[in-house]
Amino acid sequence: MKRILLITFMLFSCMIIYAQNTISGTILDGESGEGLPGVTIQIKGTTSGASTDFNGSFSLSASADDILVISYVGYVTQEITVGNRTTFDITLQSDSELLEEVVVVGYGTQDKKEITSAVVSLDEESFNIGNINNPSQLLQGKVAGLSVYQKGSDPNSSPTIRLRGISTVGSNTEPLVVIDGVIGASLDNVDPNDIASINVLKDGSAAAIYGSRGSSGVILVTTKQGKRGGAGISATYDSYVAAATVARNQPVMTRSEYIDAGGNDLGSNTDWQDEVTRTGISHVHNIAISGGSENTTYRFSTNFRDIDGILDKSGFDQINARAAIDHYALNDRLNIKFNISLTERESNFSFNEALRYAVLYNPTAPIRLDNGEFFQAILFDNFNPVAILEQNQNLGKRKNLNFNAQFRYDILDYLSVTANYAKQYVNNFNGEFYPESSFFRGLNRGGLARRFTSDTEFTLFESFLTYDKSFDNANLTVTGGYSFQEDTYEDLYVEAGDFPSDIVGFNILETSGDLVTGSASGLKIASNQSPEERIIAFFGRLNATIDKGIYFNASIRREGSTKLGKDNQWGTFPAFGAGIDISQYVITGPFNALKLRAGYGVTGSLPRDAGLSQDLYKYSADGGGTVSFDRAGNEDLKWEEKAETNLGLDFSAGKINGSIDVYNRDINDFILEREVETSEFGTNRRVENAGKLNTQGIEVALNYTSVNTGDFSWTPGIVLSSYKTTLDEFEIDESTRGNLGAPGQNGTNIIRVAVGEEIGQIWGPRFAGVNDDGTPTFADLNGDGVITTDQGSAILPEGDFEQLGSGIPDIELGWTNQMTYKKWDLNMFFRAAFGHSLVNTYRAFYEPIDPGAINSYNRIKSDEQLPDLEVAQFSSLYVEKANFFRLDNVTLGYSFDMSNSSAFSRIRLYFNVQNAFTITGYQGIDPDPVLQDLGTIDNGGVVNDIDEDGRPDNRPDVLAPGIDRRYNYFTARTFTFGVNIGF
């Protein structure tokens, strides 16, 4: 803050020192020679200036040392020193190229016209609006080929992000995030309010420069910065209040329906789903100040978020602060940037299980007994959901700190060196407590407490040289550099029980009786530290513009990782791209711009875990201390390689512009943990380079620039994408995965994977009817006269199984509409997906009315419910088409006219609805596609792993899409009222 004051003081002192004279003049158009109205003439480094009148004339006060900055949209900006002159006649030259966007690409920027790969840029105006807590939600539906799906509206979980479908099987499936040049930065530590623009690098030739971490695509985030040459200090205040409501409950039997179906009447009438959900009220406030002198710019911002989810108790409080300072020296030859960002989030994770139990709990059961205690009964996997939320705690704190410093120095006019150093720290501290009185967990355990903390540190150092020179008929940019990335991770977990009182909580672990009895099956302590996971790379890139319309890019990256086998640590990843602006050479009919692009790039992918190339041993206290073989290392483990070819066409014709991209992607040697022969390796699973996937797709973006009738304007835009992924090679020709799970449907794999066929086949018997005994009958699909639907025959010739749907949509669509009428603005964004199906697991388990178990669970109601069907057995009955068309985001805003004397530069009010309505035939809670499967943790299943935040993290299986599991949080409809104020 002192620094800002100092800068401000210096700014003002400059203005005071020099004597002022009045100067005047005319600004003329270079082509027509006529006066230009509305041109800005500003004294450099100050806020003072003037505009030309209708004839192009101006006058203002200035001193001899002042520099006039003359700027006008579409013309080349000029700077002129005042000196002794008092009158000026200045001619401005138009420059259409000034309108060209500059696009941030890996280790530099490029003019948009030079781009030869599939890159999409979005600025603030294009972002989604509303109660947005994760930056990826800004992009949902906006970029063709980028799928952002969040099943349910859990404020504490992040959406799944996929670029062009599956880009890898066993490694980092999410795109690389680069924030202000810091690769691998976390989206958790940037507030959506602070983002100026986001670029998405879609294809291999663009992402290759980032190497392995870019193989699932790259999302480049640029945060807001102060402006140079300044308009002085500006401040903004943005705030909204949002109300999240349950968009759709799971339809279940009412009290009377349940009793009619044979359920035991426990005497009450409880709408459990209503009892555990609420209208979640959230507040968000963002304050930012920014400004800049000639040589220094800065921006400081603070964001407060108090977010309440629709599940009772779920939500978080967050404070985020960000500071960016940018300084130029030595006549702009030296540039130094600092960015610091800090986030602290206190979460109440609540218990998503309560939502599932609220669907399933007996509607005649009371919440509490007459004596005030919760009604609790021993049922298999079913607990009073209100009791779960009220009795137990599930809290967490997370702190993120990022810092980066970047130096750029121009050694020569055409040669610069850049160095970038960044650190990122993430710390989590979570606690859970379950008292003895809780049947859910803690019962007969004397209470149960868990504590988890983790610490993650990421270091980045990169340096590169950039050579940029123009020749007669060509422009050449060459970049070469070095990159060093290092991740380390540590954690500690403690679980203890047998506490003296239910009021203990998780902060008095020393009172645990487990410490006295020493019962090893009760007390659990675990700690872990990862090896230093390094990626070291050397890279180079060449961009050439030849003539005025031919563009060529090539890059190469040599990259090494600690995670691979000793002899296979290094990989070389090349990329090429070429583009031609056809309209520069031939008459292109109705097209005023037509650019053809082609690119090819190879990127590498790394496994998620470290230590896979080495044999591991484990120690257990079993029988007095036992060392045993834990995992067979694969010393031959090598880079998974993704080779992608992209062909693109950018065009504009009159008011229509757009682009079409088609691509072909081969993922070779994909890394997957798979079954191996136990007799040979001593363990049955090993991580291997296991097969090959192919994805082909097409993406179309179309924009119509403004239907403009006086006060009204309408700018629609559409993005469409479609892809198919095929398993080209795999050790196993045909297999099934995606276990449906308990109750009663363990060992029921419902997704088929076969070599030479598409990924995402939902697989099972075709429902045919109901037998007299209430069991389902199935179709004799192979016509052999015998109906064989046991799991063991699922892929055998005698089995009567077929594909029941595809988990992956055929077409995904986003449709934006920006409308303005006078001071009103209306933005409607529709999102749709077609061709995918979902397995409605709630129905698959709980729809048939089984007289023997009617009292174990309430029943799901749907249009397909069959009164006589008593046995839940997976079939086509539970696979539903999930096509949908949704008004995803609608915003109505009003900007007030500001008088010149107002203290405010801008006031805008807006009202927004997220998830306003959905048209779908799907009967579950949310028809959004499910792109990966987390397995059976939805019901009594085992959580194999925890993620770095200490959250349950079963390794997602990307080969088993399409299963709508029961652990999903409910989906919200959110109403937001917000204000944007500029000072």
Partner: protein, 508 residues
């Protein structure tokens, strides 16, 4: 100028840093990357509630037995659910699991049943540990134990799957052997190991000569099934080595042999040393008890209401046979205060209503087996306040079993089920159980007697095959005469992973 110097310095350091660091050594901190000897030999032992496994450095080869001998979806489940003594009924939506347990019981299994792969993996994990330790250890007695336990794992594989790969070196991938070759390997290994094994009672969880001979007895008793050549006399001789060693005797109480505190019971020859703290793996309480029985035994986790006994098998015990009371849990169930425990989700068709009452009669196998039906497996009795893992040691071999093995071998050698030698051995066990003394016996009675005595000791499948009753009809399982079913299919996962080097058994 100063700034210029600074920049040059910066540039220089960038170049140095860039060229300096290309180190990609992966230094693992959170796991052990190599085998090691625990320096603290007492570590982990003090909490062993009942008895201590010796800190002899070879436990890794024995501990996989904990993961397969008395839990769900592994060796135990295959050996029991496929027989006439144990069943997992489908209880409406519960326990259908794709029909895999119904098919296991009805002999309609396929190679993708997960229990097959789990049992296969478990045995080869034990074999891998034994191979690794055999390479590393020089102590002769320890080596002999490792060869014996390895032979036991191969016996499980050969018994279930027939011909398998005989791996004796780490990361070796030999050709698949025939069932007879595996049989011969086991026999040779045991014979080679016996001279170096201890002659007394084994250390806790370990094997001495008695265990090796008991395994040989079992091998020979089933030799006709395994190789086509009967070896009755060899079985008798091996059994006599156990009986005459004087190290083992019948426990006066049948219940004590299986109780939570059954450590070093006189009858134990070789046990899996389950322990709630340092020997996790026995989950029978979870597997068999109904959910509300959590309150009867003060269990920390809810049971699963899966396994029970067939009514016919329950009724094969005469009243007064103490084994009947010991082996099953029947009748109304109460909590710690003797109040009835309630199942608020009871079947409307259940005349007992909410109070839990385990009835030996079961209405049907599927689809709507009653939630409270079926006598529960109470042989390995439950203690109050049981943690998730039980304490009862599980005998792989016990004296009573060897007596029955010998009795059968004698009867078969002599072709006379009523031989007095045989009858005497059977009656020893019956009189301990307060059951009437038999004056004569035939093949069916002998099989039934083995069933009563050896209930849930993972032997029923072998017995039914050996007695030719594997294809017989019982309850809701129909008769078949498919001899291919005597062998289980090699797990599909292994066939897939083996790239053509493993051949599936005929008929699958």
């Amino acid at each position: 100028m100063k700034m210029r110097n600074l920049s040059n310095l910066l540039l220089g350091s960038i170049l140095i840093f860039s060229l300096g660091c290309t180190d990609l050594e992966e230094d693992i901190q959170g796991d052990f990357t190599e085998d090691f000897d625990p320096d603290n030999s007492g570590v982990g032992q003090s909490d062993n509630v009942n008895g201590s496994v010796p800190a002899d450095g070879i436990n890794a080869a024995f501990s996989p037995l904990l993961q397969s001998s008395a839990n769900h979806n592994n060796y135990f489940s295959i050996q029991e659910v496929s027989t006439d003594e144990v069943v997992i009924t489908q209880k409406g939506g519960d326990w259908f699991d794709g029909g895999i347990w119904l098919r296991m019981h009805r002999h309609e299994w396929t190679s993708t049943h997960p229990a097959f792969n789990n049992a296969w993996n478990n045995s080869y994990e034990g074999i891998t540990e034994a191979n690794r330790l055999i390479d590393a250890i020089t102590d002769v007695a320890a080596l002999a134990q490792l060869r014996t336990v390895r032979a036991y794992y191969y016996w499980r594989l050969m018994d279930l799957f027939g011909g398998v790969k005989i791996v004796t070196e780490s990361e070796d991938d030999p050709d698949q052997a025939s069932r007879t070759e595996v049989f011969n390997f086991i026999e040779a290994e045991l014979k080679a190991a016996i001279p170096d094994l201890g002659t007394g009672r084994p250390d806790y969880g370990r094997v001495s000569q008695g265990g090796a001979y008991a395994l040989l007895t079992r091998l020979y008793l089933n030799a006709e099934v395994y190789t086509g050549t009967a070896k009755w006399q060899e079985a008798i001789d091996a059994a006599d080595e156990v009986i005459n060693s004087g190290m083992y005797s019948l426990s006066p109480s049948y219940a004590d042999v299986f109780a939570p505190d059954n450590v070093d019971n006189a009858e134990h020859i070789w046990v899996v040393p389950f322990d709630e703290a340092t020997g996790a793996g026995m989950n029978l309480a979870q597997m068999t008890l109904h959910y509300p029985s959590q309150l009867t035994y003060d269990l920390a986790e809810q049971p699963w209401n899966g396994y029970s006994t067939l009514e016919e098998f329950y009724n094969s015990y005469a009243d007064g046979d103490s084994r009947k009371a010991n082996n099953f849990l029947v009748g109304p169930q109460t909590d710690l205060n003797e109040n009835p425990i309630l199942d608020v989700a009871f079947d409307p068709a259940d005349e007992d209503g909410a109070p839990v009452n385990y009835t030996p009669a079961i209405n049907e196998l599927e689809p709507s087996g009653s939630r409270q039906a079926g006598a529960r497996l109470g042989k390995f009795s439950f203690k109050i306040g049981q943690q998730n893992e039980m304490d009862n040691d599980y005998p792989l071999f016990r004296y009573g079993g060897v007596l029955l093995d010998k009795a059968e071998a004698v009867a078969r050698r002599d072709g006379n089920w009523a031989s007095s030698e045989s009858l005497m051995l059977v009656n020893q066990l019956r009189s301990r159980a307060s059951a009437s003394t038999l004056t004569t016996i035939d093949e069916d009675v002998f099989l039934a007697e083995r069933g009563r005595e050896l209930f849930i000791e993972s032997l029923r499948r072998n017995d039914l095959i050996r007695f030719g009753k594997w294809g017989a009809k019982w309850w809701e399982k129909s008769a078949h005469s498919n001899a291919n079913l005597n062998l289980m299919p090699i797990p599909q996962e292994q066939i897939d992973a083996a790239n053509g080097t493993l051949n599936q058994n005929p008929g699958y």
